[in-house]
């Protein structure tokens, strides 16, 4: 079972590296922001899997925190691009 | 907002925050519980008007109907993802995107948010813009069938109107 967790973690890493191409190339800023959001969401799943692989329950709290940070980051960026200012 | 409406929102928020503290920490010592109560009171004091809008009628019935709506929504999410997977992995990639608008009779905050979230999670459509005054939705669809499911069938609008009682 532990080997299965390691295989799943490696496959998530593969899919993260696939979406980095869109982050590097993607014409314009919006494609890059979508790629960053995707990397953030996959990192949450990766953190939970690694929490079970290394048997450290602290990783789940870090995953919850990072989910919130990722969400707020994408929202703030969208607001900034639309209005030119974050708080107005 | 009436005075009793204000305290109702405060106590609901305070209760939810305390519940989250106890569940997320798992520690039941006196110090941790008192710290939790103080933090929850502070957070509820600062932001109680964001979650609940005073005392509204039939809140429990709406909450129960929302819980019954979730399994249907989960099934729609699975269908949506199988649909997107088929379109992405197909060698010819059959997509035909379009942007369209429609109007609903829903006006409340929670009803519009639930409908926008459901549209984003169902096969082939994403909400672009919502106008709360007229209940107008601008939606981007990835194929004609998904657009028809939303414009012609109107299953989702009817279900959300049933949950929030045509809010």
């Amino acid at each position: 079972m532990i080997t299965l967790f390691l295989a799943v973690a490696l496959l998530i890493l593969v899919s993260i590296s696939l979406s980095l191409y869109r982050g590097a190339v993607g014409p314009g800023v919006f494609n890059r922001v979508a790629a960053v959001n995707v990397v953030g969401t996959k990192t949450i799943a990766l953190l939970v899997i690694l929490g079970y692989f290394f048997e450290r329950p602290l990783f789940f709290d870090i995953a919850i925190l990072y989910a919130m940070l990722n969400f707020i980051g994408t929202l703030v960026f969208a607001k900034y691009v639309e209005r030119g200012d974050v708080c107005s | 907002m009436k005075k009793e409406g204000k305290w109702f929102g405060f106590f609901i928020t305070f209760g939810v925050m305390c519940l989250f503290w106890i569940v997320l920490s798992g520690l039941f010592g006196a110090f941790h519980l008192i710290a939790g109560v103080i933090s929850s009171a502070l957070v509820a004091c600062l932001s109680h008007d964001l979650l609940v809008e005073g005392k509204s009628d039939k809140t429990l019935l709406k909450f129960w109907r929302l819980l019954c709506y979730i399994p249907w929504e989960l099934w729609q999410i699975v269908l949506a993802n199988i649909d997107v997977a088929c379109r992405v992995l197909h060698p010819k990639m059959p997509i035909d995107p379009c942007v369209f608008e429609f109007e609903t009779s829903l006006r409340g905050d929670w009803a519009l948010t639930t409908l926008a979230n459901s549209i984003t999670l169902t096969p082939g459509t994403i909400t672009i813009n919502v106008e709360p005054e007229r209940g107008k939705f601008q939606v981007h669809a990835i194929a004609k069938e998904s657009a028809d499911a939303l414009l012609v069938d109107q299953t989702m609008q009817r279900k959300v109107a049933h949950i929030f009682m045509e809010s």
Binding site: G28, I64, N70 | L89, M93, T120, L121, I126, I128
Partner: protein, 109 residues
């Protein structure tokens, strides 16, 4: 116990499949709006399935810690609310700033 392991393996495999499909969609699709379709839906379900599989694993192998599944359930719930909201926000910003949608027959962007 073998049945639990098989169910957990199936859930994890399904989750990883949807995550990979989301990434492939990000590369293959021709326009920004269609790419958001792929990532916004597939990432949400893939992450939710993986965390749900691990929740199932925890219920049977580590049942002396009963509060951790509630944390994972909250995480799944949060992902299902937050990911579509973030997708909608970024799509609205792009539409208001003037990014044109792609229709069939044009070239890739």
């Amino acid at each position: 116990m073998l049945l639990v392991n098989i169910i957990v393996a199936l859930l994890l495999a399904g989750g990883v499949f949807f995550l990979l499909v989301g990434s492939i969609g990000l590369l293959r699709l021709p326009d920004f709006y269609t790419r958001l379709h792929a990532t916004g839906k597939c990432d949400t379900l893939g992450g939710g399935l993986i965390i749900f599989g691990l929740l199932f694993y925890h219920l049977f192998h580590y049942s002396h810690h009963p509060l951790v599944p509630v944390r994972l359930l909250f995480l799944i719930f949060f992902i299902f609310i937050a990911n579509p909201a973030a997708t909608h926000a970024i799509m609205k910003a792009a539409y208001r700033t003037g990014v044109k949608p792609w229709t069939s027959g044009e070239e890739r962007r």
